[in-house]
Subunit: 349 residues, 4 copies
């Protein structure tokens, strides 16, 4: 068992980390860090629990520590970070001197030598770690996962780019309110309404996806060479991002073939049988009105992305459309970091 | 004053007709037709009123008649139809023998010699009426308006196609539940959820838009020659369809120019000062998080379409993106038919 | 293993039965009955699945039969009924000739010799069964469970009436839309809205609760002798009824004592360790803003009722107030029938 | 025309003040005060507008001033306050030296010599003003209106207490999210959920209602002598509080008589024909499923309270039940202060 900790443990993604790490076969959650306001208190006393399932018994009595390496238990090997970006920039570097940092924060994504990884998509980017450690003279290192809407999209694109020549992609999202954090979206903003804007989200989707689906040449990442445009919108859904995708290929194709490639997609996490790896990273639904966020977000314990309405686009040559739903705080956040850590634990530690 | 009637008067769009016709300066609402179950009753007794505003006093005592021309008051000149498609196919033809039928139903849209019209977009299609009357030997005629999501989209496209060479359009919609009728979307289907499918909606948007933005050569309509693909989704919003639009032009352009053309767009209904014509068919919002359905659906008394997030698409050459909100049961249904009737009343009757 | 069947298997409560019976240690689900439209089809083909969890594999291939005893597999011993009231009246009697009928329908509730039972509250009412069988010359019998809002209320009242003299109760409910069936509440009726009326609900709560908390003298039930008034309202929540309760006792009391009696309440199902019996029928929450339906409906696998805001009522002598949340389609419907069947299986079969 | 100002002008209730004062026949809105962050800016630049209707043109160019009397235009006679309680305590006193303060804040409610007034209920409490001015040596004075849920309840109780002997009242509320301010209720807290707790709300309802329905003896208020208990809950509704009420009278009564007294209730504001006074302070609905917040909150321009489901309570002697809906930010907040000011303007200034 590897001892692990959570940074930002009282927040919503922090709570998802705790939920996913409870009874984990490889990781023992022994440290919880949060702001000074919480530090020194029992976790149960420091936290308003936001999730539908109960707070795990195992964390209730853990005393919350300050968010810096000196206050973290020495026996911890991996820390999961759901810190706000502005804090993550410095704090994650401090931890990386001695700890493996599996981060859901955006602060270090796509920086030189810092792997941005989805285990099913680009596990080879972990090869950057050596250079990262040498460059910084760190014993630990930082690994990041992408933005929530990027992860769901990229997982479904992987079997496509592996088998077809993609020319262009447009994606329009309908994102859950949990993606903005517990206090992020006031009810006054979203009841009988939607908000067609999410700060920096389109930029993240457009850049991270091309990075993830690019190639690492041993020194740097060369972005994938198709074009990708995103329009991002917030809707009154608690959990589960929905995305409508328009894809243009370079060549003619068979839509049944696209479907098969998605439905049968398996990758390294499935081969290694990692604990959080879903049996199917992508599930293809046949019903004409699926996927739907409330019905499909928990597929594969929240780690599968559900795809539906896969259909030829009659308006454009070589084109098709589909809709996906992915759980934004599991596969799109805490679960992404945990799966990264499982891969690291299997391959590197 | 022209006497008018409403077919399908107890339904949701029927109620919008009644609301819009109350205190109308040109039209006097004197006849209300509905199913046999309602016929013979006072309108107030026959109807569960669904709108937030009160039922107008003027209609409460009107006795509902059966939905056929023999039962309709002879003094009526125009009937507004919000009949279900399957009934509309025959019934509207029966009425067209003697009445002007301004229809929101889809049964006769885009059929030969039946104008599908948005007054700001293609008023010249009304020239089909002569041929329609001759062909059928009717004293009256049928005029239709497009599907709700088509109208909002096409209104914003008109100033674009008039000023730029459009190559392709993708649109992803987030549509209000009222579009499916009062009982159309169960709450179980949409609370904390969305439904990524609306029957026939994508086909309607794709075909009607090209038809509306095409040209009438005196005999037939030649569709516009750009390509258009739609993905349609239902969200938990009462009224107001939101659409995210990706447009590719043939040539380079100035985004400020696009904005000006939209913001300054005026057309025949504005020139004629038709009663239901909004001052601005398209309103361009500057706030980064608008338009929003609850905030913007009532702009221009529900007859304006609000556009926002107009921005260059960095991923594609000659491309831009925007978001629109339009009121689906006013501009997208009853108001569309009423404006058509106002134009007909001004120009033809 | 006892073979069991479900009547009304394609409906929402029918689906909950299937979910709760999947992998049940005592019951083997072997028969599914539904309307003629579904009969003859595989269950998976006959059903639009409404629940968030996937349809259990074990039922997908079961061929749906007609809803009458002749078409039901002979090996079945218990049938669970979620039939609409109007069908249940006759059909359940037909089945009772040979089967144990555990019914969630209201048709036979509180009729002479037909037990209306909550296992934690009045298991002794099962003693009516002998008389029921003799009177009708049946080999089987009917057992019913109460209305959803009644069950949650009565479970929390049981430890109170057992320990204090209750004078009067007022209850105001905020009920989930699932209680009305999948198509029961249109989204147009409930988004940004609530409906302060549920047909017959207040009458059921007022009569069933007094019946359940009364006493069975071997021949008939003598109602409890306190007074109870209900006001019932529908709110935009998928699952989980919330109820605000005002109680007046005959005598002074200690609020801590009320809390202890509720929190420590255990009854026969807990003693017998019935499979669906929750460890605690009533859970008392300490947080000032709980219970909440989305957070607490699944407590005890949906079989516990959560109570909170237990406080003295300063306005009235000998009075207190509290709020409860119970899962309306688990503890309040399918789970109630299953627990009844478990008790019958343990004690009678 | 009397010049008026608004304190807390950028907040949600502040915006309602602006909306209600736009085109007011007696009041000219000339001053807008807000926090230092907004002071010095044009109102349009300082404010994110939250209401569905557009920001009135007349206020866009008003330069926001600091919230103290020195920075307020001298020509202003009345200031409307929607300040947070903690600021209101001191600031309203500062203004009262020279201005009439019509306050929606709770800071000075029910304090000695400060009238807490609903014009239809207890206009005579304005007689406290003389003593207030003398005691404080002020040229101006403070008048307050009650809490939103109190106002709706008390308006419907007034015709009852005037005509019947009320023994006791229990009320269970289902309150809109706007009552907590724009950022008050996160969407994560309320989508597919409700929150059965609103801080201090029950205490306010219980104390303010008895105060308003008491009597002013020239020196102090003697509370009404019935008993009142409240249970308060937040539901996913934008505007419009719903309340379920259980009333016990001392004597037998005729339910039709109760209905008539409510439906025909008129009071001083109606006699004086005050601009914001609704024709009917209480509207009695006959439909079995009304009032509903989305349908009825705007009755009487948001100044009427709608009552429905008025029915005998069969469980208790001399008792009846009903449900009300009132607009919480119009009649329950800004509109209440404006109506108070209209009465003061008519009677005192």
């Amino acid at each position: 068992m590897v001892n692990v900790g959570v940074l930002g443990a009282t927040g919503m993604v922090g709570q998802r980390f705790i939920q996913l790490l409870d009874k984990h076969p490889d990781f023992e959650l022994t440290a919880l860090a949060a702001s000074s306001r919480s530090a020194g208190k029992r976790y149960e006393d420091a936290t308003t629990w936001y999730l539908d399932d109960e707070m795990p018994e195992s964390v209730k009595d853990i005393v919350v520590c300050e968010t810096n390496p000196e206050d973290m238990d020495n026996d911890v090997d991996i820390v999961f970070s759901s810190l706000p970006t502005e804090f993550a920039a410095k704090v994650e570097k401090d931890f990386a001197k001695d700890y493996v940092v599996a981060s859901n924060a955006s602060a270090h994504r796509m920086k030189k030598n810092i792997p941005l990884v989805i285990p099913e998509v680009n596990p080879e980017y972990l090869d950057m770690i050596d250079a990262q450690q040498k460059e910084n003279n760190w014993d630990g290192f930082i690994v990041t996962n992408p933005n929530c809407s990027t992860i769901a999209l990229t997982l479904t694109l992987k079997p496509i780019v592996d088998n077809f020549n993609v020319n262009s992609i447009r994606v329009s999202t309908m994102q859950a309110v949990s993606g903005a954090g517990y206090n992020g979206v006031p009810s006054m903003a979203i009841v009988d309404n939607l908000v067609p804007y999410i700060g920096s989200e389109e930029e993240k989707m457009e850049s991270e996806t091309l990075h993830l689906l690019g190639s690492f040449d041993g020194e740097k990442v060369n972005d994938a060479n198709f074009r990708l445009s995103a329009s991002c919108h917030r809707v009154p859904v608690i959990d589960g991002h929905t995305e409508a995708i328009f894809i243009e290929l370079d060549d003619d194709f068979d839509i049944g073939d696209v479907k098969d490639k998605m439905a049968n997609f398996k990758a390294l996490p499935q081969e290694l049988n990692l604990f959080s790896a879903p049996e199917n990273p992508v599930i293809v639904k046949e019903e004409m009105d699926r996927p739907q966020p409330r019905m499909d977000r928990n597929a594969g314990n929240g780690m599968s992305v559900s795809v539906g309405r896969l259909r030829k686009d009659q308006a454009f040559d070589n084109s098709f459309k589909y809709v996906l739903v992915g759980h934004n705080t599991i596969r799109g956040a805490a679960g992404a970091s945990v799966l990264n850590a499982e891969l690291i634990n299997e391959r590197i530690l």
